[in-house]
Amino acid sequence: MPEREVDLTRVRPYADHLGDGLVQMSFTLPVPYSLAARRAALELASAMGFEEPEVVHYEQLTPGYTYFVMYVRCAATVDFASLQEEGFDIEYLSEDEIETFAAEHVRRPIVVVGASTGSDTHSVGIDAMLNLKGYHGHHGLEGYRAFETYNLGSQVPNAALLAKAIEVGADAILVSQTVTQQNLHVQNLTELVEMVEAEGRRREVILACGGPRVTNELAKELGYDAGFSKGTYPHHLASFIVRELAARAAVPR
């Protein structure tokens, strides 16, 4: 427990005591294991803007490559308080709370259809969210009484995902996609949104996308109702869906 009050307008990393700004980081440089390599790591950390860089461990990964673990000090701060006020914070419900909330506010099975679309072969994200087995001891939506789930797997064409969603009367469509800097999958994500529009169902269905680089900002540009990134557990997704359904039911459009 911190001994003094945290100033949420000026937050920095914490290790030994509040506000010390200590960061542990690791990386690999494509240089041979040597004292010069150690020197290079220190200079790089300074170039990153860190103070008091310290190499606490370094070793050869393979000839010509050196792996480093460093302690550094971060002088910069971030204004957490204003981010909190910006309203993208969701208070997550527990599994039991989600079941109770759905039973009270939705009062029917919530149908969710999910897939990795296009050429994306990764189904790990969608499996973690939807399958009973789930992820890190949190089971997926399949394990909830409130949800009826359809996991279509990977490399699913947008047309097939949409057809299934219409067939089963989906409340929410969940797409997992690895967005790369080269924008490879962005077109695929926008196409689904546009197809839902063309089918005249955009207002009825909740669209959520997930992937390692997906943020709320990206989700908004893509036309999705929410974006989920690394560190998302199934109950985060479930909290969003039940709340959104309840909110939509409350505001008839």
Binding site: E194, G200, N216, Y224
Partner: protein, 368 residues
Amino acid sequence: MLLSELTRAAPRLALVGLAKNTGKTVTLNALLAELSAAGTPVGVTSVGRDGEQHDVIDFRIDKPRVRLEEGSLVATTDALLSASGTGHELLDRTGIGTPLGEVVIARLLSAGEVEVAGPSAAQDARAMADAMLAHGAEQALIDGAIDRRAASSPHVADGLVACTGAVLSEDVHEVVARTREAIELVRLPTLAADGPLGAAAHALALAGSEHGAAVLSADGAGAALLPARYALTAQAAEIAALLAEHRDAAAIAVSGALPESFVRDVALAARRSRREITLVVADATHVFVHERGVEHYRAQGVRLAVLAPIDLLALTVNPVAPQSHSFDSARLRDLLSEEIAGVPIFDVLHPSYRGAQPPVSRALRSRP
């Protein structure tokens, strides 16, 4: 002629890009500056997010901010409006949620830079435009996002400004070819409502979307309804059998989305049976062809037609691909105008464009 004069007749004007970084926001700013100089009250919304500081995918790319004059109307989220620090009068709370907060409609009490993120759904964007017109705007600008076209539907906007740019390819001829294909798609032929086929298709469209699709004969008489979700799910063999069964079929009308797989399979069946088939959709935003252009499918015996046309008013170009290459603006515009007839082409940042210069730093266009 100025872009704002050319687009004045469209009370609801959509701006749609062929991809990210084709210059939608720069075009929006040029329009806003011209309308401000003319004293025209405007309203702005975006189906995505506009006026953000950095590109959402490539953080190295700085984006132009959106500058609005005092008295302008805007439909954006409450959080972004507060964050802008611009004084405003709240007119409506819409109850429409986005990942960035609830959308509100406000009137600015002073000029300022505001990040604009309105409702994502096209129908809701239309409602925002109508609300801003009702609150006194003479024109409502609806900005698109990435390559999303839904806002350009004639059921949403009265006119379209399309934006293209160097970002499409490192090869200038490829940029021109892809732009030509996209514009062909926007300008698909419209079926006259008084022709037999048009009348049948219109009747079908009016009957509601639950029918999904129908096969039509040339005289419009023999309309046969197809199973639900037909265009989304039908396989090549199914389509071939359908055309074999309906020997007089001249068209297939689809009320929802027309995916490329369906167009391709109809083309295959049409070519094998040496027939021509017209695929009819509500408007061009329902057509999803990326791999091949409209021309390619026409050569295969498949024509695409719409019930309601999109009024394409102008095409703007960004000759610079951020963090990459650039082309000579005049040459790019010349090449485009050779291939695309009947639409004025502008580079609003080029010295030859005589419009009010948008208040965006030219540094954003600096050669990499």
